[in-house]
């Protein structure tokens, strides 16, 4: 019940295209859903996050869509650029019940071709 399932494992997108990564969870106590971006040799960095009281959050080219009833959330990267090539992790936590410890998806390796 603590799992977060992420797909696809890898994704190749042309420059200017839309990258879509999906995640699903089981634990209804989760109340915070961040997406992290990781470049090789670096630690993950927070990209964007959402709480379950909203269905969508947009920051620049990055959008999270959240479907509470389906227990799914997704990351959309609009106008994908080669610099977006990285590994993306979705995560979830129950902030106050679990102290913010993150449960991560398995990661998606995104490659944006010029």
């Amino acid at each position: 019940q603590q799992q977060v399932k992420q797909s696809p494992q890898s994704l190749i997108v042309q420059k200017g295209g839309i990258s879509i990564i999906n995640c699903a969870y089981e634990n209804t106590a989760f109340d915070y859903f961040p997406w992290y971006q990781q470049f090789p040799g670096k630690g993950p960095a927070l990209l964007i996050a959402i709480r379950p009281d909203v269905s969508e959050k947009k920051e620049g080219r990055f959008t999270i869509s959240f479907n509470k009833s389906a227990k799914q959330f997704s990351l959309h990267i609009m106008d994908s650029q080669p610099g977006d090539s990285a590994t993306y992790f979705c995560a979830a936590t129950a902030i106050y019940n679990q102290g913010g410890k993150l449960i991560f998806g398995q990661g998606t390796e995104l490659s944006v071709k010029p």
Binding site: Y32, P34, Y36, G41, K42, G43, P44, A45, L46, A49, F89, A91, I95, Y96, G99, G100, K101, L102, I103, F104, G105, Q106, G107
Partner: protein, 117 residues
């Protein structure tokens, strides 16, 4: 300002040896987390410290793993009698909290790559 720092950046050890990994969180951050990143298991939570509260050790994979946080700042993760399956990147993260209020964003260090031969 300085981010989360970890040392060493790389550690190669022989099976059966003990290793210590160090994490310096961002100044003022009261919450500190350790995670492990490996090819087979992805990113896994290990242990969490919050202020003076007892740490949440629920993610530690065995009793060979332990961690401490001195003075509410620097943390050390110790792995005793290392095994080959301990080979992974060990990541530390910190975040700011005030009592029961969490800011949510965890700032990660670059990690320590541990290789057990």
């Amino acid at each position: 300002g300085a981010g989360v720092s970890q040392s060493p950046s790389n550690k190669v050890t022989e099976k059966g040896k003990d290793v210590e990994l160090r994490c310096d969180p961002i100044s003022g951050h009261t919450a500190l987390y350790w995670y492990r990143q490996s090819l087979g298991q992805g990113l896994e939570f290990l242990i969490y410290f919050q202020g003076n509260s007892a740490p949440d050790k629920s993610g530690l994979p065995s009793d060979r793993f332990s961690a401490e946080r001195t003075g509410g700042s620097v943390s050390t993760l110790t792995i005793q009698r290392t095994q080959q399956e301990d080979s992974a990147v060990y990541l530390c993260a910190s975040s700011w909290t005030s009592g029961t209020f969490f800011t949510n964003e965890q700032f990660f260090g670059p990690g320590t790559r541990l290789t057990v031969l």
